[in-house]
Symmetry: C2
């Protein structure tokens, strides 16, 4: 394997069938080894409401209780994952859907109980990614599609952040391949002016980013996203790109999104 | 691959956590290549009720409408499949859960609309089993765990009978391996007296079975089950065994269940 493209999509694209279909068509067209990591979306919330599952929040953070874990296993590991896989198959991409327990692909650790017990929430690091399994699958011409669920090492799953999964897989593979990690989100990239969608910064390094943060030009949610991207670069990931799922061909060619370097 | 053991379990074991755990422990202990096919269970019905999905029946047959397909994709492909895989991992069996679209493992055809339109229900034959993928996974030390869902060749899944899936996989592999196909159900085997659980017939051929049917000694539901078993034998499957999931070691060694030959 020389190159590997890892792409993360979230609810904003999963919840929109026509945009999802367009994205999956572009994803299928990517040459070489690739991995898709998907998050959840409103569908889990809607399904939870229909099932009468009351979300529990502590300090504004959603807690994954046993019922919620069952819900996300069904919706992320079943509905979303299998629908994405079937759609990819229909456009000629030989996708295979995996949750963390499948082949022990992603091993999570329950988040330690500090001020807050998040319940069945897991974190992972690059060492807990089963690189060998993913490589065996990709060598056989398959494209892994990962749900945001890690395996707890006993007999259960843990709800896990899809951004983190994508990042740790990227770090794990950076030892053996030139990895491009692409985060799709609701904006065209890092904006110089949060109100102006045309102000996408095409490339940025850590020093330039710190200057922007210092000048108050970068808004709250972007800071941890970019911090993670710089951490990935430091760990050996060759390219990290953020932008809109619809712009996927441009994100890959460099004509759209923000490249973090 | 010299030998392959294919086991089908249904709702009676899936719905009972402690019996399921015992079964999975015995399954994990089976030497050599193996595949588990699971059906649904009451959990899909219960989840459907909680979601307010009204089952549709025509002539006493349940129809898989779009909403029901979504339900079974979540429950069979997500919840049941991933829980079984996680439990197998916890007892040292490197399981990988698959629905039909994953790697295009099982290709179904929508059941033709005759007197009745079953909706999103699929049938498959041995030629639509992706033997190469299953073999690649087993060669890598993985144990496939299949949900009762086939891929429709376009962008969707089809609700498919788990007995049929197990049988067609067995037929497909009978060309290249000595296959033992084990159907677990609620009885100890084929009973000479339906009221007497101790009257298990330890082995039976097609002629002996026809005689029992002629004498009215075999009850309704058993006839198609055994017909399928004889069809598998004729197609080259080496052994077909029916019996109770709890008796798995005995079903394999020949000390329990009914062997069809």
């Amino acid at each position: 394997m020389n190159t590997l493209t890892i792409i993360k999509i979230g609810g904003n694209i999963i919840d929109d069938p026509s945009r999802l279909e367009g994205f999956l068509g572009s994803f299928a067209a990517i040459q070489g080894a690739k991995i898709l990591v998907h998050g959840g979306g409103r569908i889990a919330t809607q399904m939870g409401e229909r099932l009468g599952i009351t979300p529990h929040y502590v300090d504004g953070r959603r807690i994954t209780d046993a019922e919620t874990l069952e819900l996300v296993t069904m919706v992320y590991g079943g509905l979303v994952n299998k629908q994405v896989v079937a759609r990819l198959q229909s456009v000629g991409c030989n996708a295979i859907g995996l949750s963390g327990s499948d082949g022990g692909v992603l091993r999570g650790r329950k988040r330690p109980v500090g001020k807050l017990d998040y319940g069945f929430v897991g974190d992972l690091d690059a060492a807990s990614v089963n690189v060998r399994l993913l490589q065996t699958l990709m060598d056989a011409g398959l494209t892994p599609v990962l749900a945001p669920l890690t395996y707890d090492g006993a007999s259960g799953l843990l709800n896990t952040n899809a951004d983190t999964i994508a990042q740790e897989i990227a770090k794990a593979f950076s030892q053996i391949a030139a990895v491009a990690l692409i985060y799709c989100f609701e904006k065209g990239g890092l904006l110089l002016d949060a109100e102006d969608e045309s102000s996408v910064i095409s490339s940025i390094g850590e020093r330039g980013f710190r200057e922007l943060v210092g000048a108050g030009a970068v808004s709250g949610g972007m800071i941890p996203k970019l911090d993670n991207a710089f951490a990935a670069i430091r760990a050996g990931v060759q390219k990290v790109i953020i932008g809109r799922a619809e712009d996927l061909p441009g994100l890959i060619s460099g004509s759209a999104g923000t490249q973090i370097q």
